[in-house]
């Protein structure tokens, strides 16, 4: 910390604001400790992964350099390609639904009403709950014969569902868990945005006789867009990477019906011990995440300029 404590010895004696502004202040030094620490943890894993992705490792044997064979194999591996599409499908739903619901929830919680604090706290709780612990409870709730959810459905006269016990319903069911967990995060981010909205546009709109919907559509939504974009980026990264929930509830099953990229990676690395192959998966996985995030950040810049 001492290096950061006195990053410079300049600006001794009186100086005008203008002069000070001209001298570069080395703010970036403040970021050095954090960057060093992060690098210390992630650089070695990264180098290792990239190196291993070019090799083939065998139990009890050495490693063979195989160039890009792992990658070419991957792109011919149906299970890998299917897992990519499955991941996208899951991500689209696990991003869109929490955002829709989260914005709606934020509009609700933005109003004043009795017990707002308490209800808001209850609403936020799923986001804080430990995913592994909650996933175990969900598993019990999904049990096709003894689970409480099928009982609740029967109360409403609905037929029982197989939930995660059928290839057709497993992904939507897992999305449901994800929505339950992460809608509050979107709500909190958007709520922050709502709190910062200016009052003037609404005043003039009210004078012009605009409806609630018109005000939402033409004033609130555009102003909230930057916040929604933040939520979109965070949700996208997290939905692509989701592991705990799927791992605990289905481990990718039934069959491969919920085998997302991360579960495929887990199988290759920790079940089949194909370290080289798994490393190649990581590299591709990472490229996908970064590319999507950058795309979203870019879109966000655009929306900001337009807004």
């Amino acid at each position: 910390m001492t290096a950061v404590a006195s990053p410079h010895a300049e600006a001794a004696g009186p100086a005008t604001v203008k002069q000070v502004r001209l001298k570069p202040r080395r703010y970036w030094l403040f970021a050095v400790p954090a960057l060093v620490l992060i690098a210390a943890v992630i650089v070695f894993p990264w180098l290792f992964t990239v190196f291993m992705s070019l090799n083939d490792w065998k139990v009890g044997g050495g490693i063979d350099f195989v160039w890009l064979q792992n990658y070419t194999r991957l792109f011919a591996d149906d299970r890998f390609l299917e897992s990519i599409w499955r991941t996208f499908f899951f991500t689209v739903m696990a991003v869109a639904l929490p955002i829709l619901l989260g914005v709606a929830a934020a509009l609700v919680f933005h109003r004043e009403f009795p017990w707002r604090g308490l209800l808001r706290t209850i609403f936020v709780m799923p986001m804080m709950a430990t995913p592994v612990a909650v996933a175990l409870v969900w598993t019990m709730m999904f049990h096709p014969q003894l689970g409480v959810l099928n009982y609740l459905l029967s109360l409403f006269g609905l037929p029982p569902s197989l939930w995660v016990y059928s290839p057709n319903t497993v992904i939507p069911t897992l999305v449901l868990v994800e929505v339950w967990h992460w809608t509050p995060l979107v709500m909190l981010i958007v709520l922050g945005g709502l709190a910062g909205l200016p009052q003037d546009p609404y005043d003039s709109a009210t004078i012009d006789g605009a409806t609630d919907w018109q005000m939402f559509r033409y004033i609130t939504l555009p102003l909230l867009l930057p916040y929604i974009m933040i939520a979109l980026v965070i949700r996208t990264i997290d939905a692509l990477k989701v592991f705990d929930t799927i791992f605990v509830i289905t481990q990718g099953g039934p069959g491969t019906a919920s085998e997302t990229l991360n579960i495929f990676l887990y199988l290759q690395a920790f079940q089949f011990y194909n370290l080289g192959y798994a490393s190649a998966v990581v590299v591709i996985f990472f490229i996908i995440i970064v590319a999507l995030s950058l795309l979203l950040l870019y879109v966000r810049q655009r929306t900001k300029w337009n807004a």
Binding site: A31, A34, I38, F48, V134, L188
Partner: protein
């Protein structure tokens, strides 16, 4: 202020309108209530009630056997303490380096550096496990709390930096400029002007970092040893072959997540206020 009614304060709200509002509120809150209540219900019932259909909702009489079972069969207090050490350590170090970093990045408008730190968040956690295991083994750290604290930094630092950037951007620079003119060093203007103003942000950042670090389980499963295992992975470990039972499992799940839920209740005002005040504002 946050409380001001935006949607046409002039218009009278109809009865139907408020009923609809109440209904939507109910729809929003009930899934959370359902899951947590069911979790509590499972943890307080015996095994026969837990697996009966139609389900038994209210434990009658409630039994604490499941909780006793959890404490008897697992070294729960050790795991709890491990979780406290790992999460506490990672959050403290995270704050120590993350708050200045957030300040530096905000003031230097170094968006690229911010992205660099976000990379740690983007990398799938699974990909750290094997290389870090080898690295820690080489350093003799496998199975230690230190190893877990170091790995959990990958979770805490990005959250703290990300939230602090937004916070510091919301603090006007004029005050610091004035101090700077008076001869203060950059460190002094950070330490005595910006940081005190950003204290609420630090609280939110610390709370969120704490929660996400507490909830993590993949790191501890591979990198934790028998004396350094954290709570979530310990609960997962209590799934036993041949002996699965819902009651103790629900009890264990509840115990794991209880600390963070309590924290949420206690700090809900700070969390909401903190985020509303610009914590996640575009930066």
């Amino acid at each position: 202020m946050a409380g001001i009614e935006r949607s046409s304060p002039v218009r009278r709200r109809t009865l139907a309108g408020s009923a609809g509002f109440a209904l939507s509120l109910f729809m929003l809150v009930s899934p959370a209530v359902l899951v947590f209540l069911w979790m509590i219900s499972l943890s307080l019932k015996n095994e026969l009630d837990n697996t009966s259909f139609p389900p038994v909702f209210v434990p009658n009489p409630p039994t604490f056997e499941n909780f006793i079972d959890v404490f008897a069969k697992n070294n729960f207090l050790l795991y709890f303490w491990n979780s406290v050490l790992v999460t506490g350590g990672a959050v403290l170090i995270g704050l120590l380096v993350g708050v200045p970093a957030g300040y530096g990045i905000a003031r230097a408008k170094a968006a690229k550096t911010a992205v660099l730190i976000l990379i740690a968040r983007m990398t799938p956690a699974l990909s750290y496990l094997i290389p870090l295991f080898l690295l820690f083994q080489w350093m003799g750290l496998v199975g230690t709390i230190t190893a877990l604290i170091i790995t959990h930094l990958v979770i805490t630092i990005p959250i703290i930096v990300w939230i602090m950037i937004g916070y510091f951007e919301g603090i006007p620079q004029e005050l610091e400029d004035a101090a700077y003119v008076d001869g203060a060093t950059l460190w002094q203007s950070f330490r005595y002007i910006a940081m005190p103003l950003a204290r609420p942000g630090m609280v939110v950042a610390a709370i969120l970092a704490f929660i996400f670090s507490w909830n993590n389980f993949v790191f501890s499963i591979v990198l934790g040893g028998k004396n350094s295992r954290t709570l979530p992975s310990a609960v997962y470990n209590s799934l036993t072959f041949e002996q699965i039972s819902w009651g103790p499992l629900a009890a264990a799940a509840l115990l794991v997540t209880l600390p963070v839920l309590v924290l949420t209740v206690v700090a809900q005002r700070e969390i909401v206020a903190g985020l509303s005040a610009g914590g996640l504002k575009d930066g």
